[in-house]
Symmetry: C2
Subunit: 394 residues, 2 copies
């Protein structure tokens, strides 16, 4: 539930009206799709409709279920340990079992709830499509299907995708807030980093700065550093000290109230080779092209092509990332993708990363990333724009 | 792969021999179970056999597959973005596809690899049981089954469970290291906390201290605070300032090199009511009973009963957590459970939490937690034992 705001910060949580709006939009789409209920099992899906926010999901022991009926509020079917935390959300119907109980890990309670909600011959929607998974033991899902032999479990990914891709102003405010905090930290780094620090020390310093400036968590921090460029942007930090001539990238998903930023910044130590500087300028220019292309009713494929054209002209040798940005919000990455095959049409309220990246020499890549929200007219930058030239740390 | 150790720290990674031993033990069990290959899809499963460590798993966009054949090294079937990071592990056969590609998100490549490894009529094991899930879109798994109509997908949870429950000395050293760091932080807190700080400030300070003392991440931090006790131990921090008479619990899963601690500490501010002090002493004594009971060949149920008996005598009103501790290692919680129905026999090398908790008044609970490793004879404490009396912060 929404908490009183600290001055200068977006309020934590959301008012009940926001959850009611999410549910009724979903229910409209369910009616069109002929679905009697939705069954949700993952953290963002459950949180989206309930407001249930806890890191306890990191324990794989217990499944958590939220059932959204055709009308009315969602029903929580959860382990007893979560009852008190769930009772602080807008959800009223909270059904619990004592967990762990591998012999019946909520399955009989869930089966009863589904039958009561959707009937014995109901059609239950659950997300089965791209970027989703079922967070419960597969054997338990098989047992659920055996218990409900006349129930159909249909794919409801499209409903979740359509709803979650377009953010409310309250959601945008949370992402904007964490983007602002992390932008400040990135801008302060040249004064804090020096050659000789190990990547592990740099990561630790970065996380500490983010926390001290108001991030709830630095849930995701990856990066790379190497002489005249890095080859890999998803690795944990190494113990190797950064040296003059190294290029360092840090890419973070930091969090405020359950909402992520996801962007990176590059730094050279001491000096930067000409091809490194040029590559930086190319991906910077590609981001500019992305900012120009990201307009309502443009497709993600068009945004991709606008950025890729700049990199092709700039001598790009390819890119293992497989796309040039993606949706963002309750998760580090969400639908859609800036990918040549993604025909999603942009709408106001969608939060995207623009993430042009390219290999500019064998084994050396350069990746930029900014976070934007689609508006009528030009998009709004949520991150403070990176420097147009590669920052050099003396 | 193992990196050179920083003095005083356990080495990062593991030598290839450790992965080879894990694989050959799994392959022995696979032979007994009549399985031609294992298919692994989650972060800890893939990491256990490969050493592949990256936070990139937080992005739900791309599935990752590891196939363990009946003989030889595992085969990685992964998105191209992971190739360079995977190439630094002991895995040699790395097959990639350009991802995201929702039309064929690795499924044809995986199907080919499974057929090549297990034959067209193979039996593939994958974890389907308690505390597991399948981390790929359900529709893609259904498509895989249609592509391999003569392949059987059987439950292999028991193999993963049996292997991962018993830790090597190298694994134990990582958990011991993070337990030591966090024990220091907990011991320093009375000098750092004061009434008037919000829970959010306290959480931020705790995380910063852990990072500065050498934690890689404070991946999990939950807690609660309330007048004369807390009612809920899985919630995020609130903006409410802590007041005199409050009892605060912090429960953390902090990480070193991909291995977790999981323990908590309690503090009272200014003063503590008699029933609060008594409850603390009861759960402290219950932990002592757990330390006495946790011997090789004792069952988890026996450890549970030893602790619960102390709490029953101490006036426990029940416990929503559903168990009194659990396994620990690559995940915040792992098999087994200190639960009346868990007949797992303890073996040297198992890492467990002892986590006695009880409601001592309506809506008020007290929970303790220590981390131990089972040894011949008495267990070894990995955490520094909590104070025998509730610490009071002046």
């Amino acid at each position: 539930m929404a908490e009183a705001a600290t001055p200068g910060l977006p309020p934590r949580g959301f008012p009940p009206e926001e959850f009611a709006a999410r549910c009724s939009k979903a229910q409209e789409m369910m009616a069109h799709a002929g679905l009697d209920a939705l069954l949700l099992t993952t953290e963002p899906e459950v949180r989206y409709f309930s407001g249930y926010l806890t890191q306890f999901w990191q324990s794989p022991t217990r499944p958590w279920f939220l059932v959204l009926p055709a009308r009315g509020k969602p029903i929580a079917v959860i382990p007893a340990i979560g009852a008190e935390c769930m009772a602080r959300t807008w959800v009223e119907d909270i059904r619990t079992w004592s967990s762990p109980n591998p012999a019946d890990e909520g399955i009989s309670l869930l089966a009863g709830t589904l039958t009561e909600t959707a009937g014995a011959r109901g059609r239950i929607g659950l997300p089965k499509g791209p970027e989703t998974h079922l967070r419960m033991p597969l054997a338990d899902f098989e047992a659920l299907q055996r218990r409900l032999p006349d129930t159909t479990f249909a794919d409801a990914s499209d409903i979740l995708r359509a709803l979650r891709m377009v953010k409310s102003e309250a959601e945008i405010a949370k992402v904007a807030h964490i983007c602002g905090i992390v932008s400040e930290v990135f801008e302060s780094l040249p004064g804090l980093l020096r050659a000789g620090m190990s990547q592990i020390e740099i990561f630790r310093l970065f996380k500490t700065e983010c926390l001290q400036r108001g991030a709830d968590d630095v849930a995701y921090l990856v990066g790379g550093a190497g002489a005249d460029g890095y080859g890999d942007i998803i690795s944990p930090p190494s113990t190797r000290p950064v040296e003059a001539g190294d290029v360092l990238i840090l890419d973070t998903g930091s969090v405020f109230d359950g909402y992520y930023c996801d962007f990176d910044r590059n730094y050279a130590f001491g000096r930067a080779a000409d091809d490194v500087r040029r590559a930086y300028e190319v991906v910077y220019a590609a981001t500019e092209a992305g900012l120009q292309a990201a307009r309502p009713s443009a497709t993600c494929a068009e945004v991709y092509r606008a950025m890729q054209a700049v990199m092709d002209r700039g001598g790009a040798l390819g890119n293992d990332v497989g796309r040039l940005g993606h949706g963002l919000g309750m998760q580090l990455t969400e639908w859609p993708s800036n990918h040549p095959e993604d025909r999603t049409r942009l709408e106001p309220g969608m939060i995207l990363t623009l993430e042009p990246g390219m290999a500019f020499a064998p084994g050396r890549v350069m990746v930029h990333e900014e976070n934007i929200v689609i508006r009528e007219g030009p998009p709004q930058l949520l991150t403070r724009r990176a420097a147009p030239e590669l920052p050099i740390i003396a």
